[in-house]
Symmetry: none
Subunit: 404 residues, 2 copies
């Protein structure tokens, strides 16, 4: 039985770039270690969800870990709250919130409270409360954004948004979409009123008014979703799993699946992340764990920036960082792939397939000695995210036989 | 409209072997006929169920014949009973049984009755009976193993095992897992007591005691499963189907699907099987049938033995045996593949994909003139078991158009 490392280079897939002579960043990069690994294993193309589907990092990772995102992805509320580092429990109702400016008639003056840049941490803290036995937690996000979580008995996500999505209109009353959501809608409405009472005179807003800025004197909720009950990853696969990821959305998602989240010094989720440390820590952690998911976000960041040269350089740094994996192939089943393509020419996620390799002792070698989008198409794998865990379980000698 | 031959080389797929210079048995084998067939058709890789899933022969064959094994595979009881050659009907409840030794307090002394080697046929025969209108059939298997089938109205597979799985403990009472299984559990418990009454004084056990051997004086049941209602193969595809297979598990499965089972002299399910006869009989049988499934088990046997040279030799014998197929391509649509990989390095089934070819007059030729795991990856097929019958129906001009 082997240990498993699943190395996800976030947003890895790309398209040809003029600035790289018509090559993708992966094609253009010097990457002797990734090529060496590729030549020792089975290579091919992966569709994280299914061909053409444009995945988020969240839905893609769910799929790669063997969960059907069409079943467990319950909307942006819960997954954005996870992304803010909020600790969620199955059954919690999570909303996307935004701090806004309203007049004393509750008419929206600015949906983004002048794109408020500081002080939202204090505002958020002042809104943690309990209403009718429901615990409400608020966490600030970027600019005017926030996550809001309701925890308690008998809650439902089937309530309408209070954000009118238009300035000049009054904040809406939340209404139940289904009868069982009546109580949740009432609590939303009480919370909105309370938020105005608390925020309108909050010192942060006193100061903003003095500086001629719009006060963030209400929080509006939308995108309610229930935190899904996700089958425990360790039980599902009978192994002990951990993740090494820099992005709160992904660590939250792995935690929700019951995996341990390993803290590694220097891991930031930016282009300057210490990727060498991630790989070294993962190898060390194999003492205690059977399965390690590593996510390196930097490739995706470069893709969103549309910076092909940066993406190429990051891939070259990753190539250096993966060297220790080559020395551990006697005890590790390794998969290297991405969660989605983020082509520099698009600056956003696309549904293009990704190169993927599986390397383990004794596996068939299909002779693909260049690890890139085009070479991979000549390999033997043509798989979907939902196949990934089955393949890793098979090659690590952990799969149970189905039948006789 | 063409006739169809589906030739399954059991456990065909393999991994590189040092003893074969880093080649798989299929790569290493001289196989001019298989290569010639390959060069005349479309080639690629097949996942019998889905990538990475480790199939049994039973679940794989179900999938290749167009049945969803996740729906129709109801557990080991029914399929092991089929493997013993028992005639099953949909709705029958089948158990895995084992002859064991108990003391007069029903405490298990030996779960395997001293690995009893003979006489179980007589013991099994003595246990055929009727209890409360339910017909009970027992058939001996290898050593202490047996199949037990309940046939009657209102039976349910949702009962607990009586085998305590531990020596020194008393035989358990079977309990209903669901209320509707109450009667079945009662019959199981009555049958266990009866089995003790009959077996304890059975001449076979008298003799065993005299010889100082442990008596096989009870039969314990576990792994209850209902025999599934499988859609009739001939109706499903509007053709007349038959199989030529040496293994009772597979002939039973084909019979359950409503196919005829053809008896061919010299067919044994071992490495010495007369594979030349199988091919010749299949071609003859095309007079009476539209579809013939041929399974050659020998490749799998060599894989389980971990004998790469033997597997290579068997493939070379198969290559000779398939020669007559080359002369019948004007009237036959042929697929050659396996049901799962049985790599000699693993000695068991794995979830690795298999090479597959479809050959018929006029089909596109994708130029793969070597039929092996690595060359096939460069071909045009990347299919799953569930695609096989659709592809065969298409190329044999039997498929109905879906839509206008």
């Amino acid at each position: 039985m082997k240990k498993i490392i699943l190395l996800i280079l976030d947003g890895l897939g790309d398209r040809p770039l003029d600035s790289l002579g018509g090559k993708t960043p992966l094609q253009a990069a010097r990457k002797k270690n990734l090529n060496a690994l590729s030549s020792m294993g089975m290579v091919g193309l992966l569709d994280p969800i299914s061909p053409g589907i444009r995945p988020g990092s969240d839905t893609a990772h769910l799929s790669l870990l063997g969960y059907d995102p069409f079943k467990v992805y319950t909307g942006r509320g819960p997954f954005e709250a996870l992304g803010l580092g909020m600790e969620l429990k199955p059954g919690d109702i999570a909303f996307r919130g935004n701090f806004a400016t309203v007049d004393d008639q509750m008419r929206v003056i600015d949906r983004r409270a002048g794109r408020i840049e500081s002080g939202t941490d204090e505002l958020a803290k002042s809104l943690n409360m309990e209403i009718d036995g429901v615990e409400i937690m608020v966490k600030e996000g970027v600019e005017h954004r926030a996550g809001v979580v309701f925890r308690g008995e008998g809650l439902s996500p089937d309530v309408t948004d209070v954000d009118p999505h238009e300035e000049g209109r009054r904040v809406l009353e939340s209404k139940p979409i289904k009868p069982e959501a009546k109580r949740t809608a009432e609590i939303v409405n009480k919370f909105i009123v309370k938020s105005y009472e608390i925020l309108d005179n909050h010192p942060v807003n006193m100061k903003r008014r003095k500086e001629g800025k719009k006060p963030a004197n209400i929080i509006m909720l939308r995108g309610a979703g229930i935190v899904p009950e996700i089958e425990n990853f360790n039980k599902k696969y009978n192994l002990k799993g951990a993740c090494i990821v820099g992005v709160p959305l992904l660590s939250g998602l792995c935690r929700l699946a019951g995996m341990d989240v390993l803290k590694v010094p220097g891991v930031t989720g930016t282009v300057n992340t210490n990727m060498e440390n991630k790989i070294r820590y993962a190898i060390d952690a194999l003492r205690d764990y059977d399965f390690i998911l590593i996510n390196i976000k930097a490739t995706d960041v470069a893709g969103h920036d549309g910076n092909g040269n940066l993406k190429k350089e990051i891939i070259e740094r990753i190539d250096g960082a993966v060297a220790p994996l080559l020395e551990n192939l006697d005890r590790v089943t390794l998969m290297v792939t991405g969660d989605h393509s983020t082509p520099c020419s698009v600056k956003d996620h696309t549904g293009d397939p990704l190169p993927v390799m599986v390397v383990t002792e004794g596996i068939r070698r299909d002779g693909i000695d260049q690890f890139d989008e085009i070479s991979a198409a000549r390999g033997s794998l043509r798989i979907r995210g939902s196949d990934v865990m089955n393949i890793l379980m098979n090659y690590s000698e952990r799969a149970e036989k189905f039948g006789a």
